[in-house]
Amino acid sequence: MSLATTQSIPEIRARNKELIEEVLKVYPEKTAKRRAKHLNVHETGKSDCGVKSNLKSIPGVMTIRGCAYAGSKGVVWGPIKDMVHISHGPVGCGQYSWGSRRNYYVGTTGIDTFVTLQFTSDFQEKDIVFGGDKKLNKLIDEVQELFPLNNGITIQSECPIGLIGDDIEAVSRAKSKEYDGKTIVPVRCEGFRGVSQSLGHHIANDAVRDWIFDKNGPDSKPKFEPTAYDVAIIGDYNIGGDAWSSRILLEEMGLRVIAQWSGDGSLAELEATPKAKLNILHCYRSMNYISRHMEEKFGIPWCEYNFFGPSKIEESLRKIASYFDDRIREGAERVIEKYQPLVNAVIAKYQPRLQGKTVMLFVGGLRPRHVIGAYEDLGMEVIGTGYEFGHNDDYQRTAQHYVKDSTLIYDDVNGYEFERFVEKLKPDLVGSGIKEKYVFQKMGVPFRQMHSWDYSGPYHGYDGFAVFARDMDMAVNSPIWRKLKAPWKDVSKPRLLAAE
């Protein structure tokens, strides 16, 4: 039996509050005051989770957050497959983000597709002293010569670029002109900007607006015959093929997906998006900006959806269909019905193994809320959650649609706090990232990486739900967790001495 089911809501609330107080004791006074704003216990009926968010991380703590470069190159731009993304600055940023996000794609890598290559200007001291614009000019020529089938280039600024005042916009304009209007996009995503990767998402969205949409103009002709059922998937990075297991459902219900952002995406798809009839938005955090822009500028409505777990998938399919005619609404019902046997079989198999198990989450983007439904579909309960780089509107969505009363909420949780929380609440499963994985496994807590799906996936859609269920089962019920204590050290199992 989980802790949550053995206690009443007021008891859990009191325990969680006490836990927060306890954790704050370790800090110097000033820091405790700042961190206190980010930790809370959710109360039903409140408009958000009662935590401050999107504020600077505290120096000297082990924050799990990344930077603007990670948000732009690592998340938004990197997966656009037919463009060359230059990590402009020193070698490290590109190296550490090389191939680490599993944005699956189809294409001939190194020839017409470039996602899993690391292009960098590899800044040296002289580039810092004299500036890197000249090098960037030459570098673009070299990209053109060696990779003639690239459809565009982006320049992802690392920290030094902004500090030394390089004019990457001027370089982009001049080079674009030189190469017959080729799309060359400068992105000011220096790592010191903002408080996390979140600003990098925003900056990347703005770069799409300014350097792709504006370049083509609102009246540009689509390269295909439009239909009334054209939609674009926004904010799916195709981790382990997520966007594919989502797209197939949309197509099965009768919609036509004209663009996928940005997992397995291409420049042509970015350009086509303003012709969509509806933008459907999965990762709200990373791409609400461009969706709002398209709504204002091109009049394209957008709707959020959640393709984790059958309950939310069903809800989302109906919601998406509501923007269209009966044909699509019937299509949605047909899809729901088609997959019901799979859903039933997955739940019949895995729910008995997972019923009542508790989960604590800490992830980025949409996952701290979106996956809760999928856990609940399997009979599991999320007792704590928080965002690496969420904003207040993320916590509003979480409070209003996802979490239960008394759930522990921790914004920008650091290593110290997270460890104490897990130690105390003893969840059956923690879902977070690579930096947290081994910490909790050492503690004997089953763990799944919920950024990369622990190299599994997809987790989106009905096909993905089966993988999700299997993976959670394998984590929680792995026989290894019964081997933590050496038998001679396990005091819970007294052994008879020979003399007795």
Binding site: P28, K30, S57, P59, G60, V61, M62, G66, A70, D82, P90, V91, G92, C93, Q95, S100, T108, T109, T116, Q118, F119, S121, Q124, E125, I128, K138, P148, L149, N151, C159, P160, I164, G191, F192, R193, G194, V195, Q197, F224, W244, A259, A268, E269, Y339, V346, K349, K435, K437, K442, G444, G457, P458, Y462, D463, A466, V467, A469, R470, L484, A486
Partner: protein, 518 residues
Amino acid sequence: MAQSAEHVLDHLELFRGPEYQQMLANKKAFENCRDSAEVERVREWTKTPEYREKNFSREALTINPAKACQPLGAVFASVGFERTLPFVHGSQGCVAYYRSHLSRHFKEPSSCVSSSMTEDAAVFGGLNNMIDGLANSYNMYKPGMIAVSTTCMAEVIGDDLNAFIKTSKEKGSVPADFDVPFAHTPAFVGSHITGYDNALKGILEHFWDGKAGTVPKLERKPNDKINFIGGFDGYTVGNLREIKRIFELMGIEYTVLADNSEVFDTPTDGEFRMYDGGTTLEDAANAVHAKATISMQQWCTEKTLPFIAEHGHEVVAFNHPVGVSATDDFLVALSRISGKDIPEELARERGRLVDAMADSSAHIHGKKFAIYGDPDLCYGLAAFLLELGAEPTHVLSTNGNKAWEKKTKALLAGSTFGQNCHVYPGRDLWHMRSLLFTEPVDFLIGNTYGKYLERDTGTPLIRIGFPVFDRHHHHRSPVWGYQGAMNVLVKILDKIFDELDKKASLVGRTDYSFDIIR
């Protein structure tokens, strides 16, 4: 629908089904794809000498470099000291990257904090971040030492670590006598091996030269101990343990400087050990009295060794010694310096390695190899291949310098088997791709990223280096010493035999060579 609860298909198989294949084919209509014949034409062109020439003439663009940046090396060295928390002064995203990178390789937690500098720090400097940051990490993580290094951001704006740490101590962030060694580790100079060197030197300097002017410098009182430095090494867990075993067999008193072999290999038993093992701070200080210091990697300790030499004891550098002669040289040096005999047990290990090489050399003799990685590792592996009668053909090190090139060329020139080998300092894995197409070899040795080269060029990859993300637990087995060389030998042979089997596995066509006994 291919998916089922009874046989769950993940990404590996799911998308091969007809419905997904159809979907992906439909998607192409929106992708502005290139004509497949054109893609094929360009692909063939990239294999040509003409493309290689263009590729090698690039000056500004780096593609798939085999190096990381300085701060990673600083973090790697810092955690080798007892209860030491690495503190990286700069923007926080970098630290997330170092921690992820180390965790992905070692499958272990990696603890490190950042001073989380943002725009305001870029304008006003990061002093306040340092003051608050040191106070917070000192209180939260109860370290025994905080080792500070920098990112490129802090270096570009010119933050002065020495002054900042002094001020932080004055403000009470940490006690005045708390150890906070530091090193400037700009990411736009050198690579992770430079960062290792700088951080290690910074820590020794702190203890030996008066803790940033707060106490008198240590006066050297020579003793019989030998210091040992591993360098930045993806096999640090296995290698350091092997070296300690050798020291103990020889009865030598030693100090491993930056011993991170425990912290990257803690047990799973219900407890998270944020700090584990490591060189004690006392030993780090007392290391100044040692008789000699041995570095296993010359180019990882370019500044540290001269610094140590200035303090009056002998320093000796090796180049990631792998193989019989390299281990011989290491042991002979150990014996000479310590005055201790090399025990029979090690002689027997040597004999077993020679035995194994004799048993298997027929399968390796004359095979061509390409190697890439850190300069010392490349040198060490090349030397071992020469011993095996293999022919190193391309040796490439993105962070190798002119001195490395010269020394490696001399090594190759000294062997019949090295005559047709070229050495490539400062080149990257896209250069290597051209080399593998235009001057093919039988096997490639390098880190995980070589799998793209293996796929593109068909050259089988033997994974030795850092990082190895896509295979598990290699770091636990040593590559140094006679036993380490045995591990490397087996790894190479396994790949050779796997390839033999693969080529001989077509039923009824090539399977006459599908041998049981080799």
